[in-house]
């Protein structure tokens, strides 16, 4: 173990292996994540991820909290798709109590989840471009993300962590301006999406740095459990919204984006196309939100019957699974979260071998890792 920390002097080390630490305080690791990278010259020989720098013990903390209280902790796992994480716990609790929520709740949850997905992909797009040296896209994406955050702030009260779901429904009704603002946002975003394509997707430097880099085959993606846009870039059809529809996803038409190349550019394209698919889903729902109550009648103290409950959802990064084991008390006996980023991280070593160190950053950007989701 001690040998890991030995840094070799750079001078006079030609032909020798060089071990460097990327992180834990490195801007392109998007959080406190440490990669021990073994290099031969400029070529990566192996990448060893060391996680645990931001471990908070969320699963253990859940065991001492009641079910409504757990929800605010799931915000802090994958903070960029906080609403979808909240939804996962709520759906699991509702499934356990055999509560069928009204269509209004389902529609609002789906619209906000899709807006959340766009906001998350925008942040990924900006930070991936910045990893590769382009600073302008960062500001363009944040300008448009701000519009979504304003919609969220008006309705939920939060800009990043919403805590808008509760078992049985939502905390508040939607704001009267909600529909108007979302309808304004859709054409605005389609217009600025063209700018993104012109600015980055067609750029020759960007294409040369991502095409054919970080190849992940379909078999490898399945073997390692890589889900979400990273898996779909390798042709692995794993969209939970299609495979096991929840909320209002069975009522809308949308395509599952699949690319078979498996390189960084395919993963990039999946996310870009997914933003447009999310817009399509919102368009279908926004005019048809049914009237009704925004929350179902629940008992003051929620106790789940004894047993195991399981719910999977599609977050912006892949498949999130909530597994609750209840012993009949008001707190769960055990909660397990299967987070998408931990599985995605496990292929980092596989796909960045024999690539250049500069491409390692681009591969890390294309996998879209959120570190608190890995460590929990």
């Amino acid at each position: 173990m001690a040998e890991e920390f030995v840094h070799l002097a750079v001078a006079g080390t030609e032909g020798q292996d060089l071990e460097i630490n990327m992180g834990p305080q490195h801007p392109s690791t998007h959080g406190v994540m440490r990669f021990v990278v073994k290099l031969k010259g400029e070529v990566v020989e192996s990448v060893q991820p060391h996680c645990g720098y931001i471990h908070r013990g969320i699963e253990k903390m859940c065991e001492s909290l009641s079910y409504p209280q757990i929800i605010h902790l799931t915000d802090r796992m994958d903070y960029l798709s906080a609403h979808i994480n909240n939804e996962a716990v709520c759906l699991a609790v509702e499934k356990a109590l055999n509560i069928e929520v009204s269509d209004r709740i389902k529609y609002i949850r789906t619209i906000i989840a899709e807006l959340n997905r766009i906001a998350s992909h925008l942040l990924w797009w900006s930070s991936m471009c910045m990893d590769m040296g382009a600073v302008t896209p960062y500001f363009y994406a944040f300008r448009d993300r701000e519009k979504i955050l304003d919609i969220f702030e008006e309705t939920t009260g939060g800009r990043l962590l919403y805590s808008y779901n509760c078992p049985g429904g939502l905390m508040n009704d939607i704001h009267p301006n909600f529909q108007k603002r979302v309808k304004e946002f859709i054409p605005y975003f389609r217009k600025s999406f063209k700018e993104y394509d012109e600015l980055v997707t067609g750029n020759v430097i960007f294409q040369n740095r991502t095409m054919g880099i970080g190849l992940l085959t379909r078999e490898q993606a399945i073997a390692y459990g890589v889900t979400g846009p990273a898996g779909r870039g390798s042709g692995f059809a794993c969209d939970v919204r299609k495979r096991a529809p929840y909320s209002a996803y069975d009522k809308v038409q949308f395509n599952e984006i699949l690319y078979n190349e498996g390189d960084s550019f395919a993963r990039y394209k999946v996310r870009m196309d997914e933003m447009l698919e999310s817009l399509k889903i919102i368009e279908q729902l926004i005019d048809n939100i049914p009237e009704g109550s925004y929350v179902e009648k629940m008992k003051a103290v929620i106790k789940l019957p004894e047993g195991e409950y399981f719910q999977q959802v599609e977050t912006a990064r892949g498949e999130l699974v909530v597994h609750i084991i209840s012993d009949g008390n008001k707190t769960p006996y055990r909660v397990k979260f299967r987070s998408p980023c931990l599985s995605t991280l496990s292929v980092m070593d596989l796909i960045s071998r024999n690539q250049k160190i500069a491409d390692l950053i681009a591969i890390g950007g294309s996998l879209d890792l959120v570190i608190p989701d890995i460590d929990r």
Binding site: Q69, H72, T156, L161, S163, M171, V200, G202, N203
Partner: protein
């Protein structure tokens, strides 16, 4: 690779860069499309949305009356222990003794703005305030007493 494909690759690559520059240049010559806000210069005009979760407040009316009965449900529902309620026994006008609030202590430094206290309050005493500039030099300043000096329970709230 032939000379022809080399040259066409070169021109295509150069063209793709020009397409990108067209976008950035259009913003350079149209400063009216820039949306940046000048904070903190715009403090006077900056207005947050009414539901914005800045801090938890105990709503007082103009007669310095609040609706908190000191039942402790918000304290029970808080996942982080950011609310502490110190209650006292008070004799009402009808001579009966009843529980009343002495101090409603709110630790802003521990609050995660989950909204469970505001939602669960049976007498709708709590609300979210829009204040968001919470930076202080001393951490003790973040432990606030929410009920104002000399405030009493609103009439008719049980």
């Amino acid at each position: 690779m032939g000379l022809k494909s080399y040259l066409s690759g070169l021109f295509k690559g150069f063209y793709s860069l020009l397409v990108g520059l067209r976008v950035t240049n259009s913003y350079f010559f149209h400063p009216s499309r820039i949306v940046t806000q000048q904070y903190p210069e715009n403090r006077k005009t900056l207005k947050m949305f009414e539901r914005f979760k800045g801090e938890v407040i105990l709503v007082h009316n103009e007669n310095n009356e609040h609706r908190c009965t000191g039942c402790g449900i918000c304290e029970m529902n808080c996942p982080n222990g950011s609310i502490e309620i110190i209650s006292k026994m008070e004799t009402g006008e009808d001579g009966k003794k009843r529980k009343a609030i002495d101090k409603h202590i709110y630790h802003l430094s521990m609050c995660t703005f989950c909204g469970l206290c505001v939602k669960s309050c049976p007498s709708k005493a709590l609300a979210f305030g829009n204040e968001f500039e919470h930076a202080v030099f001393d951490r003790a300043k973040l432990d606030k007493v929410l009920n104002k000096e000399g405030s009493v329970l609103m009439k008719g709230v049980e």
